[in-house]
């Protein structure tokens, strides 16, 4: 009976349907802003939507995209949410979609690791740990 319950728990765990791969945040100074990046793998049969992110050391958190504004210019805008189709993945990466961590309450230095809470419409709340680096490469 216990084994059955355990199996049920494993297979009903929402984090199995949505997998967060290689989360990291860029270093940033207190009072300034920085970016959070990760890959979302949606292994379920349904599309899912990332609609909110929480990071305690940030006074404000938004989901953004960086875009080419033409004439060698780059811009950034809030997108509100990211839809990940069924059986596919979506990567938040430098120069593209990212989570913007603003009004940092503390320095985010190299080697720091912070808990980030991601909210999905289907999978619910997923907590992941993201280390701080200067850059991916």
């Amino acid at each position: 009976m216990n084994v059955l319950l355990a199996l049920l728990l494993i297979f009903s765990n929402p984090s199995e349907k949505i997998k967060i791969v290689d989360p990291w945040m860029r270093v940033g100074a207190q009072g300034q802003a920085t970016g959070l990046f990760f890959k979302i793998e949606n292994n379920s049969e349904k599309a899912d939507t990332l609609y909110k992110v929480e990071f305690e050391p940030a006074g404000k958190v938004e989901i953004h995209e960086t875009y080419d504004a033409g004439d060698d210019m780059m811009g950034m805008r809030e997108v509100g949410q990211i839809v990940i189709p069924a059986k596919s993945s979506f990567e938040l990466k430098p120069g593209a979609h990212h989570v913007m961590l603003m009004k940092l309450k503390r320095d985010i230095i190299k080697g720091y690791e912070g808990n980030v809470t991601l909210y999905f419409k289907q999978a619910g709340k997923i907590v992941t740990k993201a280390p701080a680096k200067e850059m991916m490469k």
Binding site: R26, G28, H64, T66, M73, G95, L101, I109
Partner: protein
């Protein structure tokens, strides 16, 4: 014999012209930045003149704002990568200058923190914050555009905004001439290193 000598002379002349053209055309720009000076505060709030502070050095320069979470840190990171990959004979010959086009928020102390958290050494890096007039004049010299966007007031009453801006790293030679521009956030590090080596020769 005389005919052969003449042919050789013509060939030498053509090759010389091609060589000189090659040198001249290596860089797309030849813009003298030293005709006027602009005043800024550096990261230690010391008043400095630009481009006087880069005198005799090969310089990589970018204009950024520190509230940018993505493009600007990628740009300064690329400059940092160039610094780390410089051969020993060039390590003391290259300066790195960052000027904010958002000086209202980017005070000297804010710029200092931006650099310190990324381990930029102030022996080689200078971060500048100026008034509106000097900032605009330098933006004009480097062809930099910066347009505030998405402004709103946060719950604490603070004005928040992003900036749509030119994404660029500029190369300045030892005589204070702007010689080349590169896309800042996706710069080809090896190309910049080659251009720096070319200037050193």
């Amino acid at each position: 014999m005389k005919k052969t000598t003449n042919i050789l002379r013509v060939l030498t002349f053509i090759l010389s012209i091609n060589f000189l053209n090659g040198c001249y055309e290596h860089f797309p720009l030849d813009q003298d930045l030293t005709r006027s000076q602009n005043f800024f505060l550096n990261q230690d709030s010391v008043k400095v003149q630009f481009p006087k502070i880069i005198n005799d050095k090969i310089t990589l320069l970018a204009m950024v704002y520190t509230h940018c979470p993505d493009i600007c840190p990628m740009t300064t990171h690329n400059m940092h990568l160039v610094e780390q990959k410089l051969p020993d004979n060039l390590k003391g010959k290259v300066k790195f200058v960052v000027i904010s086009f958002d000086p209202n928020r980017d005070t000297p102390s804010v710029l200092k923190k931006f650099a310190e958290i990324r381990d930029y050494s102030f022996n080689k890096w200078t971060l500048l914050s100026g008034d509106e007039q000097n900032t605009k004049e330098v933006m004009l010299k480097f062809g930099i555009k910066a347009i505030p966007a998405d402004s709103s007031f946060d719950d604490d009453g603070e004005l928040s905004y992003n900036v749509i801006h030119t994404d660029r790293i500029s190369l300045i030679d030892q005589e204070g001439k702007l010689r080349s521009n590169y896309k800042g956030s996706t710069a080809n590090i090896d190309m910049i290193l080659e251009d720096i080596k070319y200037l050193n020769n």
